[in-house]
């Protein structure tokens, strides 16, 4: 098997390019994966010089422009033809890289991936999948967490098929349990979209367990959670916000009395493990399912470790031939109708 190469948008995140370069170095060393760092050559080279990177399969491809977090995605894509996001994505489109990883402007990364890579045959709209931690220690994957709003029922059905393939390949579960996010378990509960999507999902060959509620997300009872991208994005951001809030509230509580401080010092490792479990930047990014190629979108705050994890996810996505499987499943489903 020839060396897999992943393109990393080195200019994207809040800590670019240092987090991106660090993650690339770590991934190349840990997995032997080739990484192409895309962005302003001088900046990247300067950052690379700070690492022990000799002999590692790392390259730099220059891109003169940077799309900032605050820019309108639509305008930025039109104006900045030589952005690091675009150049990195084109490496995938041209077959020079197996996937692209970016912690940059999410809207711009998604739009660029759709534009430069195109959708897989049979995919109406690509969707973003994100991992949620569960108390069972397993992962729950939610699709869509923000690529689409005002979805139609047949689109939710496609999200379910794509999410199921992704879960099966990445987490080695034979028949992942697929649930539809709603506000009550009964099929009659929910809104118009959910009621119609429920009917459609029941007719697929998926292991559809019916409607699930927000609190089931963290239980481990459901593996793949399907929803409109507006709902999913709110759910994701609420969880992230809550995770940050509880960490802060806990920190404040633990710095209150001398006794609490001593307790904290003794239990610091446990507390650190806890923080990691609920810290979304640990989860290695969100794949955009349904595009021709592999696109992994990271949180803007990503550190080197998060970028390293995202590169690993991009590798596994490619190795697992997830897109071929999605194409096949969608063809089977549409043939059945």
């Amino acid at each position: 098997m020839s060396l897999i190469r992943i393109a990393v948008d080195a200019m994207g995140g809040d800590h670019a390019p240092s987090a991106e370069v660090e993650g690339a170095v770590q991934a190349a060393r840990a997995y032997g994966v080739g990484v192409v760092l895309v962005g302003q050559r001088d900046l990247i080279a300067h950052e690379l010089a700070r690492h022990e990177a000799r002999g590692l399969p790392l390259d730099i491809v220059h891109a003169s422009e940077v799309i900032s977090m605050e820019e309108s995605a639509v305008r930025a894509i039109r104006k900045k033809r030589d952005s690091s996001i675009r150049v990195a994505t084109q490496l995938v489109a041209n077959g020079e890289a197996a996937g692209v990883v970016s912690a940059g402007n999410t809207g711009a990364v998604m739009a660029t991936a759709k534009l430069e890579l195109g959708s897989l045959p049979g995919v109406d709209r690509p969707a973003l999948a994100s991992v949620f931690p569960t108390t069972a220690g397993t992962a729950a994957v939610m699709v869509d967490v923000g690529a689409n709003v005002d979805c139609k029922p047949h689109q939710l059905e496609q999200f379910a098929i794509m999410g199921e393939v992704y879960y099966r390949a990445m987490f080695a579960v034979q028949r992942p349990r697929v649930g539809l996010l709603s506000i009550g378990e009964e099929a009659t509960k929910g809104n118009e979209l959910v009621r119609e999507a429920h009917r459609r999902l029941k007719e697929t060959s998926l292991n559809f367990i019916g409607n699930v509620e927000g609190r089931d997300v963290f239980s481990g009872e459901v593996h793949v959670i399907i929803c409109d991208g507006f709902i999913g994005n709110v759910a994701l951001k609420i969880s992230e916000g809550m995770a940050e809030a509880v960490t802060e509230i806990l920190r404040n509580a633990l710095s209150g009395t001398i006794q609490a401080k001593v307790g904290y010092v003794l239990s610091r490792q446990a507390y650190e493990d806890f923080r990691k479990r609920v810290d979304y930047s640990e989860y290695g990014g969100a794949p955009l399912l349904g595009v021709k190629g592999v696109g992994i979108i990271c949180h803007g705050r990503s550190n080197g470790n998060a970028i390293k994890n995202a590169i690993r996810v991009a590798m596994e996505f490619s190795h697992g031939r997830i897109n071929e499987r999605i194409e096949r499943e969608l063809a089977v489903t549409s043939a059945r109708k």
Copy 2:
């Protein structure tokens, strides 16, 4: 001022009637409020006998039927004409109680309140408001968290007006900051409903700060958060689920090593404070805004303390003349158009 009486559905919650009776006794003692316990007389009397309740302003009103958590609300309301939920709500409709508190079947409580109390003039659809904790120590109130799905923009505008009045009265903030829950701060982001509601909210006299994201909920930057009830219910359940999950993950982490256990023992009070801050049953229930009367819906898991808090909220709602204010504000808004 004559004694205020609050009707409590004593048969509703997971721990009924013990939690309800305990909460009623505590509230009567702490606030001097009259409480009418509604439900199966013998059961309630038996439970009451376990408390030091002599001399407290407590009454029992008999209701022969109980609506369970699992029942379909529509069917239960039609069939069970003498349910504790209905009898308690009728006490409010007849002016015998100032408000009703129930930890029972949420759908049945809401439907009964709408049916028996009716809507305030100018209110298109009553909405459920729920308190979220923030790191700032202030409260954030979200409207709607599940009374309505597939909302229209003008309904979201009404939710904002009702939520603002509620926040002003309950939390003594002169000009509460009102935000619209979306997936990006720009007015152009979101779905169709949010974009149109944003335009309408900008034209009101509310202190509208624009769109807010899920993570802003816990920051204290926004006081009143407006959304469709499907979104709000998912947001609420996700937060509750996450709060439970982090508490469990933390407990497991802290029982791992001897050192962590010792640390936990020393800092137990801090962890307990933390748990209370993120435990939704501490927050005294969700008011149904826009009905003629006061209806407070509690979590099924509510303990005595949660019921006591809900009775206090019902009292304050009534004292604050919140419904009169809502009526007035809605009249002003519709006159302006």
